[in-house]
Symmetry: C2
Subunit: 163 residues, 2 copies
DNA sequence: GTGGCTGCAAAGTCTTTGCACGAGT
DNA sequence: ACTCGTGCAAAGACTTTGCAGCCAC
């Protein structure tokens, strides 16, 4: 089945994004409920890799009746459908990423900030390496790299060449 | 301060390992209590990257009076001293690793198994890459790679060239 | 109409905390 | 002796679950 990433459409207007989300949900045989639409939209427009709780707070601003339980269930459902990724970092509740394209993470241990890092050259490098390296009794899948460190100026964003 | 990894001494007899652990603790100005000795010994001899609970069960076999709370506190203390690493994987409580040498992880999403992966060539490759790549407003530290996948034969261990 | 989804609240799991006592230095 | 560490139990944080009613299809 074709997989559509929710947040590869950030150039779209909010209305068009909603349509795209509806389409994506239907492709995965999931009902396009208003709750799911909001949650997916907020997650896909977020840059912070939010926790369920953070997502809940943001969603509440416009949809105060959506419950925290629904956020949890929806995120798990999206994950099972391959529409959201879990991100695991130190000393934090489960965090979420709408970017389902294989990618890496830069993690600031001071602020807890996570920045997506995507680079073909790096992927080629690592993939070539593991092709040479024989790992027996194991079928490799996604490779995820995490670059830990600290921000120099906490008020400025982390950037990298290619952004 | 010199940092000693607890589990770099697996070739040592149990008695010598204990002495090494005492020495390591004192180096870090931590009291060498029997509880800490057992916990460090069990962790350093474990291959499964155990959770606090799993460690507790193993410790109980020989030291039934050590409490779970002490396991948690001890692990956190060891972590702060740089003597134990946290390992974050999907759908699991916090897991622990006595190997504090920078290294990577192979993770089987079927069995939850984690295998340490250490290779100089890979580290050189990645470090060179990030030296070229300019990431601004960020002081990079440890790079951790996780190779996700599934075991082919669940009853056999995962191995790789160089093991 | 029906099956899947939601809201609610309760329960479950994992982890931290406070405190009095005990032990290592 | 003094300070740090431990055991215990309670509390806290995070997440899942059960179920009745509702809504997208």
């Amino acid at each position: 089945m074709q997989k559509l990433s929710v947040n590869n459409f950030s150039y779209l207007s909010s209305k068009t994004l909603t349509l795209k989300i509806v389409e994506t949900l239907k492709l995965h045989h999931l009902k396009a409920t208003p709750q799911r639409l909001v949650i997916m939209q907020v997650l896909s427009e977020s840059a912070v890799h939010p926790t369920a709780e953070q997502l809940f707070e943001q969603v509440q601003a416009t949809h105060p009746t959506i419950s925290l339980g629904t956020i949890y269930k929806t995120l798990e459902t999206l994950h099972e459908a391959g529409l959201a990724q879990k991100v695991h970092v130190a000393d934090s509740a489960q965090r979420w990423d709408a970017n389902i394209h294989p990618h890496h993470h830069i993690f600031c241990s001071d602020t807890g900030e996570i920045v997506d890092f995507e680079d073909e050259e790096l992927d080629r490098l690592i993939n070539n390496y593991f092709l040479k390296k024989n790992i027996s009794n194991f079928t490799p899948g996604q490779i995820q790299l995490q670059l830990n460190g600290v921000k120099i100026n906490p008020n400025q964003p982390i950037k990298y060449h290619g952004h």
